[in-house]
């Protein structure tokens, strides 16, 4: 954890002061909340809005909320939402064109008033995912203005994970569970019999500024040790692991492996995995015109390599079979992403496993291609 010189210990009141301080600075505060029997990301005003005392049980195609038996505020793993839905929204209006004087077209960009977000409870894998999307969508030469305006203004309150989910494998992707970089503030929940507080550290000047406004006590060596124990315990509880091998070469050398047919039998090509994946960035553009033929609109929405239209070119779709679509998804995430952007496209958050309606497990698929399917079942 790169300490910005400041660290302290705050209580639940201190956490409320943090939420208030962010709101006072004009941030729209977003964090985990319980809705429809899951923990989603939504606007947050009070500490009590957090999923107090809740945890989740996660497995392939399976998610259930459970009571914890304590009052932990962050005692669960990531849910169906990721910060992608705020930084790279599912739908964005692009432009409008209007016919003026018979045949002249007037083009007008759709105004994009990007909110200033403060995200509370950003986990290590999610920081890694944001860093990946930064590389894809904020590259100097090809920045996406919608992403950039949201991203540059965002304030990130990170969180060292105190609970690994049944489908988490950040440890084997080297992205977590400890937060290392890329945050404004980072919290570690310290929950003991007689005390409940947070170790809080700053990672940016603005973070340090806000931290100095919070009521707290200076952190001691014992607090730092306790925080390290929290993440080490989490590390030893990962529900899944990615095989430690040269995965890009493994996949690219096995493009005709029979396992692709096998997974195609099970896969619904429903696109859920790409939607929940915090790094998948693909979009399509939809153009419509009105009844009068006077106004045309162009907008962008999330798309997926599991759809036929995604690979549609003159003459038809390139990837018609589920086999070719699943292979595109997995080889892009784990192999060609490295060539394109210099890192894996997977951060080990486990969302694609949990939220796949039929529980297809990317780590198990790799293991099967590696010829080591005996270790596929891990809990």
């Amino acid at each position: 954890m790169d300490d910005h010189g400041v660290s302290s210990v705050i209580t639940l009141d201190g956490l409320q002061c943090l939420l208030d301080a962010l709101a006072r600075r004009g941030y729209q505060v977003v964090g985990p909340r319980v809705r429809d029997q899951a923990i989603v990301y939504d606007e947050l005003a009070r500490v009590e809005d957090l999923p107090v005392g809740w945890t989740d049980e996660q497995d392939g195609g399976h998610y259930r909320l459970k009571q914890r038996g304590d009052h932990a505020l962050f005692g669960y793993a990531v849910g169906p939402h990721s910060w992608k839905r705020f930084l790279h929204p599912p739908r964005v209006g692009l432009w409008q064109a209007t016919v003026v004087n018979e045949d002249r077209l007037h083009f007008e960009p759709v105004r994009d008033d990007a909110p200033r977000y403060a995200f509370v409870g950003v986990r290590a894998c999610e920081l890694a995912a944001i860093a990946i999307q930064d590389r894809v969508l904020m590259d100097d030469n090809h920045a996406d203005p919608h992403y950039r305006s949201r991203r540059e203004q965002a304030f990130l309150v990170a969180l060292n994970c105190s609970e690994a989910g049944g489908t988490c494998f950040c440890d084997s992707m080297n992205t977590g569970p400890d937060v290392k970089t890329g945050y404004d503030l980072v919290l570690t929940e310290l929950l003991e019999e007689e005390s409940h507080g947070f170790l809080i550290q700053a990672g940016s000047d603005e973070g340090a500024d806000i931290l100095s406004e919070l009521p707290g006590t200076p952190a001691t060596g014992a607090h730092h040790r306790a925080a390290r124990e929290v993440v080490e315990r989490t590390r030893s509880n990962m529900g899944r692991s990615m095989p430690q091998t040269a995965i890009p070469a493994l996949l690219m050398d096995n493009l005709e492996h029979p396992r692709w047919d096998d997974v195609a039998e099970r896969c619904l090509s429903c696109a859920n995995c790409t939607m929940v994946c915090p790094t998948c960035f693909c979009t399509t553009v939809e153009d419509t015109s009105d009844l009068e033929g006077v106004t045309a609109e162009s907008s962008r929405r999330w798309d997926s390599c599991f759809n036929a239209d995604f690979s549609y070119i003159h003459g038809g779709s390139v990837r018609n079979s589920t086999r070719s679509r699943y292979r595109q998804w997995m080889t892009h995430k784990l192999a060609t992403w490295v060539d394109q952007f210099g890192t894996s496209g997977c951060v080990g958050c486990g969302r694609c496993i949990t939220w796949c309606p039929v529980g297809i497990d990317i780590t198990e698929e790799v293991r099967a291609i590696q010829g080591d399917s005996s270790q596929g079942e891990q809990t």
Partner: protein, 260 residues
Amino acid sequence: MPATDHKPRLGVWKFASCDGCQLSLLDCEDELLRVADAVEIAYFPEATRSHIRGTYDLSLVEGSITTAHDAERIQEVRRRSRTLVTIGACATAGGIQALRNFADIDDFLTAVYAHPEYIETLSTSTPISDHVAVDFELRGCPISKTQLLEVVSAFLRGRRPVTPAHSVCLDCKLKGNVCVTVAHGTPCLGPVTHSGCDALCPSYNRGCYGCYGPKENPNAAALSERLDQLGMNPSERLRFYRTFNAWADPFREESERHES
């Protein structure tokens, strides 16, 4: 649609159906006057009494073919229509009335009618595309009025309508819904169902009923395994696939696999 010096003529035709899809057009309230402005509504028994003969630039066809008379009438509609668009599950897949296709029509007739001998009907309910060439199919039971306006707007400009064939799941995720199958254990047809309803049922914590029929490239067999794990027995699974789009091939084949 090619430029003409008159307003494009719109025909709305009814075959075996409940009228719900035609009503979607009347339901367009705010946009209805704009529709009436953009096209000459030349035949629309649900909305007007005028029967105008001649040809139609755009025909919207609702309903399935269930009688010999209708099988002939659709040929006439096709001859008179420059562009023919079918609207709704009846027209695109045979509708709920296609349940007859799985049974003996005479059994139904004797069970339902006091004098079955007066009833003249075919033994099947079939989609319009089984009878004539169809330029575009708009799915849904009922169709979405937003999509209907999009289709009419598109055909008036000669462009492709934006009615994507992906899963209901994708729309569910765009909306930020929590998946009812994964988080609640509720059976849902969303993964095999065509987009169009904006994930209406999952948005209210219900499983998808498949009103928009099969999506492109559906894998109903794999979904059925999941439905089995969720506790649906074979006859429940059969009924799950056998509703408004029962006769659409992927749903029909899957329901037949669960016949005992």
